[in-house]
Amino acid sequence: MPAGVTMVEAVGRALGQVLDDDPRAILLGEDIGVNGGVFRATAGLQARFGPDRVVDTPLSEAGFVGAAIGMCLVGLRPIVEIQFDAFVYPAFEQLASHAGRFRWRTNGAYGLPMVIRIPYGGGTKAPELHSDSPETLFSHTPGLRVVAPSDPLSAGEMLVAAAACGDPVIYMEPKRLYRRGRAEIPDRFQPSSLDRAQVVRPGADVAILAHGAMVEVALEAAERLADEGASVRVVDMRSLYPLDRETLLRTAREVGRVVVVHEAPRHSGVAAEVAAILQEEVADHLLAPVLRVTGMDMPFPLFQLEDQALPSVSRVVRTARAALEY
């Protein structure tokens, strides 16, 4: 038995911890009960906490995301599982027209303490609409927080933090990393900051900014570039709204060359925002244009072509080289 837990197990542990700690926490989603979720993130939780706290819902994203809003009003703290990324679209109206607006509609008095967990992203050879990266839809929607972990420990720490946040959090789970590696985790997760990026590899020549599954790609690219003698800093952005402005600016000031990686389509993506902030605020420190390695502005391809569409280590390496050679 390998030591440590996978990311999907860490998610399950964090959910168990939240349910244990807070009698007002409740899980809603499709197939999350007896079945433990299609990814098994909630395995064993219904047996432990009962069907009234780990609730199998009808196939009704708008219905149960909307119901989660109503539950918040009466004092519950729902954590909703969206089965696959693109299945969130039917609930988009509830999130954009209501979830993000309730605190504003109460002049700041009452927020909605809800978490929307969305397994997202490509690289799992899945059918159409099971590989989308819709984070920008939410980072462009006022009133929501958007975060994405990239390893088992951060998954657990950010999830317990999201559950305690008091505002709606879109919690993007890079499903391609669900079972990728194992990590030691503590008996209890301590809630981490929800709006801080993390430097996951120090470096001084070029910085690669990524989130979710792309952090792994960035780290591999950094390793390869290191073989060529480049010192590469890798920043796990973790929070997509709000972005960690301080870390972004510091990175640009210190390193001067920045590459941003995400699998979501390029246009109006997170990388565009990072580039905009950097050129507005630290243009003098930039030694090269901020470059982007992203998904394409088209539907995520059927999976025989997905490896070409997903940012690869070699694309990131080539792009970082371009930044270095600028």
Binding site: R24, I26, D52, V55, T57, P58, S60, A62, G63, F64, V65, G66, A67, A68, I69, G70, M71, C72, L73, V74, G75, L76, P78, P90, E93, Q94, S97, H98, F102, R103, W104, R105, T106, N107, G108, A109, Y110, G111, P142, G143, R145, C165, G166, D167, D195, Y241, P242, R245
Partner: protein, 366 residues
């Protein structure tokens, strides 16, 4: 069977459309008097007074819109019976999920009337205290408030509370997916929810026959495995009793109810709407006699529960209350946009912090 292709205008107002709708005012004289005295004078007059306040609010709001004091306003003239009847059928801790068409029901829960008026004036002070009043903010996107009511009702039951949640909507809302998802979910989990659909035959210019092929919206309930009832939406006493019964059923643990309050939109969709563009003004005139305050007043007087003077006084009081509320709007303090920006998140992110907003790319210099 009604010819589904028939023009709405051709439908004789009244009896035919009200078929199967519960009524108090439509009962034979002696039974109506009996039903009203069963309700009791305090409640019967309370229902009338509540309608009077809603009517006065609506009339004042239209005047204020014409004067340019408030912006566009969705009038509900003629729907006071449904709103007053339902609010008074619930307990104060029960939750209401109004739409723009029920924008002033919070007033019946104790909210000062200038608050909803301020909302239409575009002042954030118009957001009422949701938790004190157990009334959700006015919902603008059609049908999206139904799932909220399901969650509130279902969640309360999970918390061991005896709380009922009622969501309002119109005939047009029943074509939206959220209506279906909410009804289905509520029935599946047995949520103590009430879906109160005002069928006023019109969604702006879209008549009911372009909205649905069922003749009765209440019939849709059977698809979800919940009871569907129809009530005369111009009859405050019948509306009250129908919602009271639905609430009792919900509290007993017997799940949700779909209540269809049948009526006719006597006025425009809102102050910016011109119904003569799409419907014969004659039809609204023919429905005129169903207007709920006049009908209720006549029945109360007939039953010996009130004098015309007494009822006139209630209406005059309500008109004065709303006129005074309207007078308080101009000069009402307006928060700064920076203050409002600090009310979006519990911890305001840097993107919305004061120093950020003071950058010239954001705010005008104040």
């Amino acid at each position: 069977m009604r010819d589904l292709g028939a023009e709405s205008e051709d439908l004789a107002p009244g009896a035919e459309l009200m078929e199967g709708a519960s009524t108090v005012l439509g009962l034979p004289d002696h039974r109506r008097r009996e039903a009203l005295s069963d309700l009791g004078r305090p409640l019967a007059l309370g229902l009338f007074a509540a309608m009077a306040r809603l009517r006065a609010f609506d009339e004042r709001a239209v005047i204020l819109q014409r004067q340019g004091v408030i912006g566009t306003y969705p009038t509900y003239f003629g729907e006071e019976a449904i709103q007053a009847g339902s609010v008074l059928a619930l307990k104060d801790h029960d939750w209401l999920f109004p739409t723009y068409r029920q924008n002033s029901v919070v007033v019946l829960r104790g909210c000062p009337p200038e608050v909803p008026l301020l909302l239409w004036r575009g002042n954030p002070a118009g957001w009422h205290d949701v938790h004190r009043l157990h009334t959700a903010p006015v919902c603008v996107p059609v049908a999206t408030n139904y799932p909220h009511a399901v969650g509130a009702a279902w969640g309360s039951r999970l918390l061991g509370e005896e709380t009922v949640a009622l969501a309002y909507g119109g005939d047009g809302s029943t074509s939206e997916g959220d209506f279906h998802e909410a009804c289905n979910l509520a029935a599946v989990v047995g949520a103590p929810a009430i879906f109160l659909v005002t069928n006023n035959q019109w969604a702006i210019s879209t008549p009911l026959r372009l909205q649905t092929r069922v003749e009765r919206i209440a019939d849709k309930a059977s698809a979800y495995g919940m009871p569907g009832v129809r009530v005369d939406g111009f009859d405050v006493f019948a509306c009250h009793l129908a919602v009271r019964e639905a609430a009792a059923r919900a509290r007993r643990g017997d799940g949700p109810t779909l209540v269809e309050a049948v009526g006719y939109r006597l006025g425009p969709h809102g102050t910016a709407d011109e119904p003569s563009l799409y419907r014969d003004p004659e039809s609204a005139r023919r429905w005129g006699p169903w207007e709920p305050l006049g009908r209720a007043a006549a029945a109360l007087v007939d039953a010996g529960l009130a004098s015309p003077e007494e009822l006139g006084e209630l209406r005059a009081d309500a008109a004065a209350e709303m006129r005074q509320a309207g007078d308080r709007l101009q000069g009402f303090p307006l928060p700064s946009l920076e203050d409002v920006a600090s009310r979006v998140y519990r911890e305001t992110p840097w993107t919305l912090r004061r120093e950020r907003l003071r950058e010239p790319t954001y705010l005008e210099e104040g």
